[in-house]
């Protein structure tokens, strides 16, 4: 990758049954897409711990894609709904910490959707490329940023944190 242009590094967590097979299909069909996403295979998107995503960001990823079977088509019946819940929670938290939404993406892809997955990857790479490198943890290392982030989180969760009378 060239020195001047920013090329994001994105970690993709793909479930074994639908989305990883979609990636296989994109390959078999020779669909060309951006090489920025490095794919890890898990059995189910339900295996993806929020800490894996945080870990990837901490280690220098500029974006993380979580991919699974379409709702209702999960190989494990309904585990992708749990992924959906975790994703929303994670995004909420990351947003409160000042991270742009486009850096974390939940993508459904059936085993037949190689082209759709490739398109989603291209789209995500484009968006993250526009955002530039992740500077989130840099903010965190400065005191003011940290205080701001904590305040933002407190505001976001004000309702939940309220002590009932």
């Amino acid at each position: 990758m060239s020195e001047t242009a920013f090329e994001p590094k994105i970690v993709g967590f793909l479930c074994n049954w639908c989305s990883y097979r979609a990636a296989d299909l994109a390959g078999t069909a020779r669909i060309k897409y951006e090489p920025n996403v490095r794919i890890l295979r898990v059995m189910c998107s339900g295996r993806i711990e929020p800490s894996f995503v945080l870990k990837a960001f901490a280690l220098g990823a500029d974006g993380v894609m979580i991919a699974g079977c379409h709702p209702g088509e999960c190989h494990y019946l309904e585990q992708n709904y749990k992924t959906m819940r975790r994703f929303e929670m994670l995004r909420h938290t990351l947003r409160a910490m000042g991270m742009e939404d486009d850096r974390l993406r939940l993508q459904w892809a059936s085993a037949a959707e190689g082209a759709a997955l490739a398109k989603a990857i291209n789209d995500m790479v484009d968006r993250v490329r526009k955002l530039g490198p992740l500077t989130w943890s840099k903010q965190w290392s400065e005191d003011s940023g940290r205080v701001d982030a904590v305040r933002r989180m407190a505001e976001e969760h004000a309702e939940a944190m309220e002590v009932p009378a």
Partner: protein, 685 residues
């Protein structure tokens, strides 16, 4: 503990080597990735010579881990795992990096492809070092099979297995076996009488010593796992003692209560309150419908009991529950017909002479309510013109996007029967004709020659509002004829709606009960759409017939037989290996919070009250890892996808990432440290 990793980069002819510098990649791995003892590239790793290369290195170089950078693990993981096992290395210590599907086939820029290949390889090498040896468990297979649903697919499965000498328990919800096929008059394209080819098979089922038939019964609960299922079946009260009944049918003759038969006669015929759906029913025992029986309503009558020569009537019979042990399960639960009232523009239930395809089947059937005469709803008038509307609810984004596969051929069959029996004019309104199988196109040709009219266009409306001369008292079909590009109004006497085949109303519930999955439309999902059409993701549960998707009789029969063959394979081998990729709970770390309990759709997690911890039943666990991710105490380990393994892979694929706090990633040798040391601390600085 330092592992000796062997890295094997496959050229795959030019599939990989044409894009990625494979030699340089292997060299790079050897020089830069900690733990790599041997790194080679080879033209075809999956060839026997390629596999021998790995095996020789395992023996001579003492490799403890193997990484094959080649194609997708879905293609050759098994190949390389077996190769490792044959050389004495536990198969789960081998890992693949998908350079072909994820890099060389999808990346245009060769330099970037090399970069990505390095990252994927770094991830695999780092991960493999933390992988642990695993052993599959071997469990015996109970040779008895349960077949659920006794339509033609289930009947075929049951007979195939029984003929091969295996025990079958056949469960059917309705009082008789036979399914939809028993309702049909003729079958396309041969115009065989449906009952004539089905009823011999039904009686074979009824008489077969290896088949235990549980009709008027439903599966309530399924527990256990492949080879060893426990199924609870509820045998609904027939109010007739099967051991005493001879099936003489006097009770049916004497019963004074007549009700509309919504199931077998599709609502256009009657049956008694004590009934057999049809004369050739198997089993022959009648059943009392307690909803309509006068005795159950008012407490008097008992005509059936008075006239029964063998005292077989038992008004006090209760539902019976049976717990059955089976090794495999075949689901052949069939389909429902689309509810045509959902398309009010076609007038079904509002306009008397609009019929559904199933009503029409019963009408054509010589044993049906009109004794095979095609007549209008008044029961006497023969129609002079009939319109057949295809794709009612199918190929329609508002209802079912899919094609129901059988309607075109049913319409041709109906057209033939109408012309043969009444001489009426027949109009078929179709979107596309899809006569796909053997001799189907020929049948279509034949109907064109017989003078059936084909109008290509989806019907907009069926109305009785006459606007033109000749439309009075008729049903008018308003449709665009797309072949001539004009709107047409066709007045007819009778309309038949070829409703979509749709999943059973309770398909999702049933799928959940058997632990299998459904597509968005609610059809049961097969393990692989092309290469494994009768297995499901749940080992030991197979599917056959229309519960998997719309299909015709020959396809249902093929699937029924195929499912039986799959089950027989399991029975013959006698044991089954259970994949060790499951989760387990470390009791010492479990706080008994029970968060994981509710997350498991397979009920694999039990809470042990006495120890106040949760426990995973490995035989039920499917290894999705959702509980692993949820455990707040990290007490659950997901075999082969442990926290450390996945984090190591993340660290690997990001080996070249620039950390956001400005520092570069740790130099490669640091990656040698066990996961969770140097890299993580740096990132949290």
């Amino acid at each position: 503990m330092s592992e000796r990793v062997g890295v094997y980069v496959c050229h795959c002819g030019t599939n990989i080597a044409g894009v990625i510098e494979v030699e340089a990649l292997a060299q790079w791995a050897k020089e830069n990735l900690p733990g790599v003892t041997v790194a080679r590239d080879y033209r075809f790793m999956c060839s026997s010579l390629g596999q021998e290369l790995i095996q020789e290195d395992i023996r001579k170089e003492g490799l403890t881990r193997v990484v094959v950078a080649a194609c997708s693990p879905h293609l050759h993981e098994k190949t390389f795992r077996t190769a490792c096992a044959n050389a004495g290395l536990n198969p789960y210590l081998c890992h693949m990096a998908s350079l072909r599907e994820q890099v060389s086939w999808v990346t245009e820029n060769k330099a970037l492809a090399d970069e990505k290949a390095k990252a994927l390889l770094a991830g695999a090498v780092r991960r493999v070092q933390l992988q642990e040896p695993l052993e599959p468990t071997e469990v015996p297979v109970n040779p008895t099979t349960m077949v659920v649903g006794a339509g033609i697919a289930g009947i075929q499965s049951a007979l195939e297995l029984a003929e091969a000498g295996d025990q079958v328990i056949l469960v059917e919800r309705e009082p008789s076996i036979g399914g939809h096929m028993a309702q049909f008059d003729k079958t396309f394209p041969t115009l065989d009488c449906s009952a004539c080819i089905l009823t011999p098979k039904m009686s074979d089922v009824g008489l077969h010593p290896n088949i235990r038939l549980l009709s008027y019964s439903e599966v309530e609960q399924v527990t256990g796992y492949v080879g060893n299922f426990q199924v609870r079946v509820r045998k609904k009260a027939r109010s007739v003692k099967e051991e005493a009944c001879t099936g003489c049918g006097i009770c049916i003759d004497k019963c004074p209560k007549k009700v509309v038969d919504e199931v077998f006669e599709a609502g256009i015929g009657y049956r008694k309150a004590i009934y057999r759906p049809f004369p050739q029913a198997v089993p022959k025992f009648p059943v009392i419908d307690r909803e309509s029986c006068i005795y159950f309503e008012r407490g008097t009558c008992k005509a059936c009991e008075k006239f029964c020569p063998t005292n077989a009537i038992d008004f006090t019979q209760a539902d019976e529950y049976m717990d059955l042990d089976v090794g495999n399960i075949i689901l052949a639960t069939g389909y429902d017909l689309f509810d045509c009232t959902k398309l009010p523009q076609y007038g079904y239930s509002r306009l008397a002479n609009v019929f559904t395809s199933l009503e029409f089947e019963r009408m054509c059937n010589a044993a049906g309510p009109t004794e095979g005469k095609i007549v209008l709803r008044d029961g006497v008038t023969t129609p002079k013109s009939v319109a057949l509307i295809h794709c009612v609810g199918s190929r329609d984004k508002r209802h079912h996007p899919y094609c129901s596969a059988v309607c075109c051929m049913s319409a041709l069959k109906f057209g033939h029967l109408v012309m043969e029996k009444t001489g009426a004019e027949v109009y078929s309104f179709y979107i596309d004709m899809r006569p796909l199988h053997k001799n189907y196109e020929e049948f279509y040709d034949r109907l064109q020659q017989e003078g059936m009219h084909f109008v290509r266009g989806r019907v907009a409306e069926v109305t009785d509002a006459a606007r033109m001369p000749g439309e009075d008292g008729k049903l008018i079909i308003q449709a665009e004829d797309t072949l001539i590009g004009r709107q047409r109004r066709v007045p007819v006497d009778m309309v038949v709606l070829l409703g979509a085949l749709q999943p059973r109303a309770d398909a999702r519930e049933v799928a959940l009960r058997f632990g299998i999955s459904c597509s968005i439309d609610n059809w049961f999902t097969e393990r692989h759409p092309k290469l494994d059409p009768v297995a499901t993701m749940t080992d030991g549960v197979f599917i056959a017939g229309t519960c998997q998707g719309p299909k015709d009789i020959p396809d249902s029969v093929s699937q029924g037989a195929a499912a039986a063959a799959r089950v027989q394979g399991m029975i013959t081998s006698g044991t089954v290996l259970i994949e060790p990729i499951v989760a387990h709970i470390d009791e010492a770390r479990c706080s008994g919070c029970r968060i994981c309990n509710a997350l498991c759709p397979f009920n694999a997690i039990d809470y042990l009250e006495d120890k106040a911890v949760s426990e995973i039943n490995a035989a039920l666990c499917k290894g999705c890892g959702t509980c692993v991710a949820a455990c707040p105490a990290q007490a659950i380990t997901g075999n082969h996808f442990t926290y450390d393994q996945i984090v190591a892979e993340i660290e690997g694929v990001l080996y070249d990432a620039v950390l956001v706090n400005g520092a570069h990633a740790p130099k490669l040798p640091d990656l040698l440290e066990p996961a969770g040391t140097a890299v993580r601390q740096e990132s949290h600085r």
